[in-house]
Every structure is written in structure tokens, then in C-alpha cells.
């Protein structure tokens, strides 16, 4: 299946997208929920890391493409060659040095502890046996894991902070700069003065690319010596603490006023609703084409398997289909999505929407295949016999007689599968595709408000599902009439 899909996808990629010239372009990966180092501002990703990388690249004569993905994927992206450089407030550790090469550190950062104002936690010593939130894959994560106990790992720092505010956590351990921003925006939170640990930030480059590493180091040292580096860091810290004052919510407002304010901040301000609109379009795009791919694969597999059952032919194809069904139905779709993106397509530059369509299409195909096979088996045996007795071939009988009846029988189950698929696409964020759910995440990371963005995302999914169910009902009724 892997070989098959690789070939299929390579062909599709060449067909739709052509080959991109990567010679003069650096792909930088980051997790844009880590102000002031990196964050989404309007349409672009801004912050200390992007700024430094852009300046260095300009001097080296490269253009830069910045991609946003979850932090636990950025090093993998560099390692697999999907990206040239990871710049995401990455702390240098021995563990990470085994996987990638690090540039000279450009900042010394501390891991700070955030608690609620009324928290009994006064120092690192009080953290034992407490519920501690961290951003998955960060230094805070590994330090807490090794020295204190199992933390609760969040994909993004703002979610951990939101959990702390909601009382789901006792403390959050994250890097000092973002920690200061979060605390300044949330009046109910404070920082413990003594940092939990110290660390150095550096950029990560693939071990296969020592030349790039050397070039970046040369430029980085020049920037350090000229004081340029320091001024960039100062600049971003300033603009972030300014914007944080605007974002603080004052407490003497009525509930309705607060909802109205929250609505303003989450959707109207800076046209943030566009994240939802764009994400919604991506979600629909992925779902629509994945459904079509799933139906094509599903019908093919179902017919091959039924043919093997009924006539004893196509034994080898039947075996392949069984392997496909077992593997796809036996593994989570998130894992499949990431394998397709990071392993199968590691060396080709391919559009993420296409990857998602292929991953969800292949996944859905397995379920559709079994649904349709069930439908085929439920059609009376006499129907096939009648078709064959009239001199129609197996394929002709299948196409004209059996499949139309099977399709009608399984329509409710198919509709259900497509509704599930629509909602499953919400894991697209794992490969940094900005779908509807991810759009909501971005708003949350900017406004530090979990309630409205999540509710809005949920309502949009709900509306689509209600619409889909309604359309399926009409189709079912129309097909039923023909009896």
C-alpha cells in the first residue's frame, strides 16, 4: 500500500503542482504560539526567531518560507528534510543534539513557573505531586518529567495557560519570555521569581547540511557583535508587552458586556474571523476530495473482495485489499496522516492540503469498502444470477444491477462515515494545515480566550453536519421512490 500510494501521490503531485525550485529558498519551521519568539500576527508569522532568520537569509541570498506546526514536529521536520531550519525557541539539549545540529545560542532563557495569584505553591520545591502543565516536547516538559514527575503535556502553551486559569492545573512551566506575556495578559496569574531551570536557545539544522550551519553561525556571530541581535529581541519584547496591556480584561463589567467584548476581541479585531473562514474552506476542501477518493477506493476494494468471495478469482488482489483494510482500520488516522507527511513524502515538497486529502481519502476508503461490501452481500443472490443468465458479464451485472441496489441500502451508513470524516479532518493541525479547528486554535493563542473560539468552531461543524444530514435525507427519499 505504501509503494502504491507513493507512486500515486508522486504522479498526482507532479501533475497538479509541478516541481518547485528549492535551490534559493529556505524552509523554516516553527510553532507560532510562543510570543515574543514567534506568533501569528495578521496574515504572517512574526517574532524574534522569524526576524533573525529572515535577516540572515537575506544576507545569504535566500528567500524564506515559514511553516507553522506543532512543536513536537519541528525537529522531525528538519531531520526528515522537510524543512531546512527549525527556529522555535528551541533549547539546546544533549538528546536533541543527537538528532540535529545546533547553531550558536542566540539567547539564554529561563523556565519559569506560572501559578494562580492565590496558589499555595511558593517555589519549585512545592511542585511535587502537583498537576503541572507543559508544552509537549519543550525543555520544561523534559525537566519536569525527569526531576519532578509526569506533567500534563499540551500541544500549545496557551492551552496549558487556559487550563491553569480553568483550575485544571496547579502550575505551568514554560519559557520566561512567553511566560511574562501570558501573566501580563491574565490578571489572575503570577510568576514565581526563581526560575526552575536555565537554558540556551539555538536554531536547528539538519546534520546533512553542515554548510548551512556554518553560514548561519557566521552571520549570527556578526549580529551578536554588532548589537543587532539584542535590539531585535528588545523590540519584540516591547511590542508584546504593549499589546498585552490592550488585551487585559477589566473585571467591573456585566456578563453581557464581557461576552460582547470577548466577541470583539476574538472575531472582529484584526479580522480574526478570517482564520475561521479560511480554515473552514480548507476543511471543506479536504473533506470533499477525501470523500471522493474514499468512494473510489471503497468501491474498488469492495468489488474486488466481493468478486473473490463469489467467484474465487482475484485471490492476490483480495489479499492486498485485506492487508489494506487491516492496516488502515487498525491504526489511528492521526498516525497515518503523520506517516504520509513525514515519512512517505519526507523528500518531496508537496502541498499539505493534498497530503491531507490523500491521507483521509485512503483512511475513509477502508471504511467505505466494508460498508459497500456489506451492501453488496445484502443484495439477493438471485439478482446476480439473473444478470449473468441474461449474458451480462460479472462487471456489467455488478455495475448495472448490484451496485445501485447496494448503494441505496448503505446510504445511511455512508452518510454517517462522511460525517465522521468531516470531523476527523480536525486533526489536520498535526501537519500544520490550517483547517477550521486550527483556525480556532490560532485565535485562542492570540486572545487567550478558550470559550468563544471553541464554541464558534463547534457550531460551524454542527451546521455542516446538519446540512449534510438534511441533503442525505433528501437523496434517500428520492432513491426510495424508485421502487
Amino acid at each position: 500500500m505504501r509503494l502504491f500510494s507513493t507512486i500515486l501521490l508522486t504522479v498526482a503531485t507532479l501533475f497538479f503542482y509541478g516541481c518547485e525550485d528549492s535551490a534559493k529558498k529556505l524552509v523554516m519551521v516553527t510553532t507560532a504560539t510562543f510570543p515574543p519568539y514567534e506568533y501569528v500576527s495578521g496574515d504572517k508569522i512574526d517574532g524574534i526567531d522569524p526576524e533573525i532568520i529572515i535577516r540572515i537569509s537575506e544576507r545569504l541570498g535566500y528567500s524564506v518560507e515559514i511553516q507553522d506546526m506543532s512543536f513536537d514536529s519541528v525537529l522531525a521536520a528538519v531531520q526528515s528534510g522537510k524543512a531546512d531550519i527549525a527556529a522555535s525557541g528551541i533549547t539546546v539539549t544533549e538528546e536533541r543534539k543527537k538528532k540535529v545540529d545546533f547553531t550558536t545560542p542566540y539567547v539564554i532563557a529561563e523556565q519559569l513557573i506560572i501559578v494562580k495569584n492565590d496558589s499555595p505553591i511558593k517555589s519549585a520545591a512545592d511542585l511535587m505531586k502537583k498537576r503541572i502543565g507543559v508544552q509537549h516536547g519543550t525543555t520544561g516538559d523534559s525537566y519536569v518529567t525527569e526531576n519532578i514527575g509526569e506533567p500534563e503535556r499540551y500541544k500549545e502553551a496557551p492551552t496549558a495557560v487556559a487550563a491553569l486559569i480553568a483550575g485544571k492545573l496547579d502550575a505551568v512551566v514554560i519559557d520566561s519570555e512567553p511566560a511574562k506575556v501570558y501573566v501580563s495578559r491574565n490578571p489572575g496569574l503570577k510568576l514565581l521569581k526563581k526560575p526552575l531551570t536555565y537554558e540556551e536557545y539555538a536554531f536547528a539544522v539538519s546534520k546533512d547540511n553542515p554548510e548551512l550551519l556554518k553560514k548561519i553561525n557566521t552571520e549570527l556571530i556578526k549580529m551578536q557583535q554588532s548589537g543587532e541581535l539584542e535590539s531585535i529581541i528588545k523590540h519584540y519584547k516591547e511590542i508584546n508587552s504593549e499589546s498585552s496591556q490592550n488585551g487585559a480584561i477589566s473585571d467591573n463589567k456585566t456578563f453581557l458586556e464581557r461576552i460582547k467584548d470577548s466577541f470583539q476581541t476574538n472575531f472582529a479585531k484584526n479580522n480574526r474571523y478570517m482564520y475561521l473562514v479560511k480554515g473552514f474552506i480548507v476543511t471543506l476542501e479536504v473533506t470533499f476530495f477525501a470523500v471522493i477518493l474514499g468512494i473510489i477506493i471503497g468501491f474498488t476494494v469492495a468489488v474486488i473482495r466481493s468478486c473473490a468471495d463469489q467467484t474465487g478469482k482475484l485471490k492476490i488482489a483480495d489479499m492486498l485489499c485485506k492487508i489494506y483494510l487491516t492496516v488502515i482500520r487498525g491504526t489511528p488516522v492521526v498516525v497515518q496522516l503523520m506517516i504520509i507527511y513525514f515519512v512517505i513524502f519526507s523528500s518531496v515538497n508537496v502541498d499539505k492540503v493534498l497530503v491531507a486529502i490523500v491521507a483521509f481519502g485512503i483512511n475513509s476508503g477502508a471504511y467505505v469498502a466494508e460498508i459497500i461490501r456489506g451492501g453488496i452481500m445484502a443484495v439477493d443472490k438471485g439478482q446476480m444470477e439473473a444478470g449473468r443468465s441474461l449474458g451480462l458479464s460479472y462487471i456489467q451485472s455488478m455495475k448495472s444491477i448490484i451496485l445501485p441496489q447496494a448503494f441505496k441500502n448503505v446510504l445511511p451508513a455512508l452518510g454517517n462515515e462522511f460525517i465522521v470524516l468531516l470531523k476527523e479532518t480536525s486533526v489536520s493541525g498535526y501537519i500544520a494545515l490550517q483547517d477550521l479547528t486550527k483556525g480556532g486554535d490560532i485565535i485562542r493563542s492570540q486572545t487567550y480566550d478558550a470559550f468563544l473560539p471553541l464554541i464558534a468552531v463547534a457550531l460551524i461543524y454542527l451546521a455542516v453536519v446538519i446540512f449534510l444530514s438534511y441533503m442525505l435525507g433528501i437523496l434517500e427519499k428520492r432513491l426510495k421512490k424508485n421502487e
Partner: protein, 242 residues
């Protein structure tokens, strides 16, 4: 009578534990109406289904118009036979008209226009032209079976095979189907019919084959087989059903 449509030699069909058809040999001539009768489980239906290879024979040979059927293209071969089933097996997702024209058009026996004309003529003949745009579920059992018969006829077959065509019908529906079958027999259609309608068989058959336990016990005109049976088993059977 003239040429042989079917020559069956030592035909055997075994299922995992039972031998349903055991060493059967007989001929079916052009224009002949052959009725196959016998007790339940005697292998009549299996024998009939072997003729158009819905069952693959375990042994023996079947020749169709002089050619070994194993060597024929199975679809081309079946296009020359018509099969009528106990449960009609009309296609519920298509109109009556579409049920009839599907096979002639798909097998490129006729253009859509020609097939449609033939279908209309056949529907008029059985008095169901006004049902051409109805769906099978809107028809009575007798109507369904008559449509199934003309669906087979639309392929202009050399022979029609009937597998207990009236067994699933309400008693008041049986007559209309038998009338149509009799008309076809009178027109000289070659037919092989598996049935329990002994009285009908006696009136229409050119030849009766009596089967029991997978074998042909006796074969001959209705007079010799039904009215004056020699074999005690045959005698016993007819004394019970008549």
C-alpha cells in the same frame, strides 16, 4: 423433430456432501418442450442450473448446438439461453421497461431504440404495456413472472429454461403464467421446465423427464410417463400428486 439444441452426456454435480445430479444423459431438440418432474430434492433444479452453468458441473459434458459449452465464451453462450426463476429476480431499481432492455443493450444485441421497440411489443403482447414505467414492486406476482419471461424473450434465445416458475405465486396468479408458457410452447419455443404443475405438464409437454435422487428414472411422452407409469417409484409419486 430436428437438430439437438442440448446434448447432455453423463452430467454429474456434486456438492460437498451430496451428489445432486448423478450421471444424467439426455437431449433437448429444437422446438421441444421438456418438463422435468419429480420429488423435492431430486436434483431437477440443479440439473437445469447446470445447463446455463449457474452451477459448474463436476463431471460429464454438455454440448450446445454441437459445441462443448466449456469451450464457449460463457457470456455469449448465456445470451442464447433464457432463464426464468422461481422468485422472478426482476431488478427492483429499474422500471419494467428498463428491466427488459438492459441486457439486449448492454450485450450490444440491439440498439437502445430497437430494444425499446421490442420491449414495447412484448409488453403489449402480455397486456402490461401500461406498466412499462412502473417498478417491479408495484406489480403482482403473476405480472412480475410474466415480465421476467418476456425479459428473457427479449434476448431472442434459442431455448428458455424455467426453474419452478409458479412455485412462489399465489394460486390465483398461477393461471396467467401458465397460459403464457403454453402460448410459447405452441409457438414452437424450445423449453426446459422444472415444475410441480403435473397437470399442466401433461397438457403441454412434448416429453416428460422424471428424476429422483439425481438420476433420470424415466423419460417419454406424457402418456407413457404420467398416465401409464411402469416404474413403481414413478407410479407412487403420481398417485400422490394427481
Amino acid at each position: 423433430m430436428n437438430e439437438n439444441i442440448f446434448e447432455i452426456r453423463n452430467l454429474t454435480k456434486k456438492f460437498s456432501h451430496v451428489t445432486a445430479v448423478n450421471n444424467v444423459s439426455t437431449d433437448i431438440k429444437r422446438g421441444e418442450a421438456v418438463f422435468i418432474v419429480g420429488p423435492s430434492g431430486s436434483g431437477k433444479s440443479t440439473f437445469l442450473r447446470c445447463l446455463n452453468l449457474l452451477e459448474t458441473p463436476s463431471g460429464g459434458k454438455i454440448f450446445f448446438k454441437g459445441q462443448d459449452v466449456e469451450k464457449l465464451n460463457i457470456n455469449k453462450f448465456r445470451q442464447q439461453l433464457g432463464m426464468v426463476f422461481q422468485h422472478f429476480n426482476l431488478f427492483p431499481n429499474m422500471t419494467i421497461h428498463d428491466n427488459i432492455v438492459l441486457a439486449p443493450v448492454k450485450t450490444e444485441l440491439a440498439t437502445a431504440k430497437e430494444a425499446s421497440k421490442t420491449a414495447d411489443l412484448l409488453l403489449k403482447r402480455i397486456g402490461l404495456y401500461d406498466k412499462r414505467n412502473s417498478y417491479p414492486n408495484q406489480l403482482s406476482g403473476g405480472q412480475k413472472q410474466r415480465v421476467a419471461i418476456i425479459r428473457a424473450l427479449a434476448m431472442n434465445p434459442d431455448v428458455l429454461l424455467f426453474d419452478e416458475p409458479t412455485s412462489a405465486l399465489d394460486p390465483e396468479m398461477v393461471g396467467e403464467v401458465l397460459t403464457l408458457m403454453k402460448e410459447l410452447a405452441n409457438d414452437g419455443m424450445t423449453m426446459a421446465v422444472v415444475t410441480h404443475e403435473i397437470g399442466f405438464a401433461a397438457g403441454v409437454a412434448d416429453r416428460i423427464i422424471f428424476m429422483d435422487q439425481g438420476q433420470i428414472i424415466t423419460s417419454g411422452t406424457p402418456e407413457t410417463v404420467i398416465e401409464n407409469p411402469v416404474n413403481p417409484r414413478v407410479k407412487e409419486f403420481f398417485s400422490k400428486v394427481l
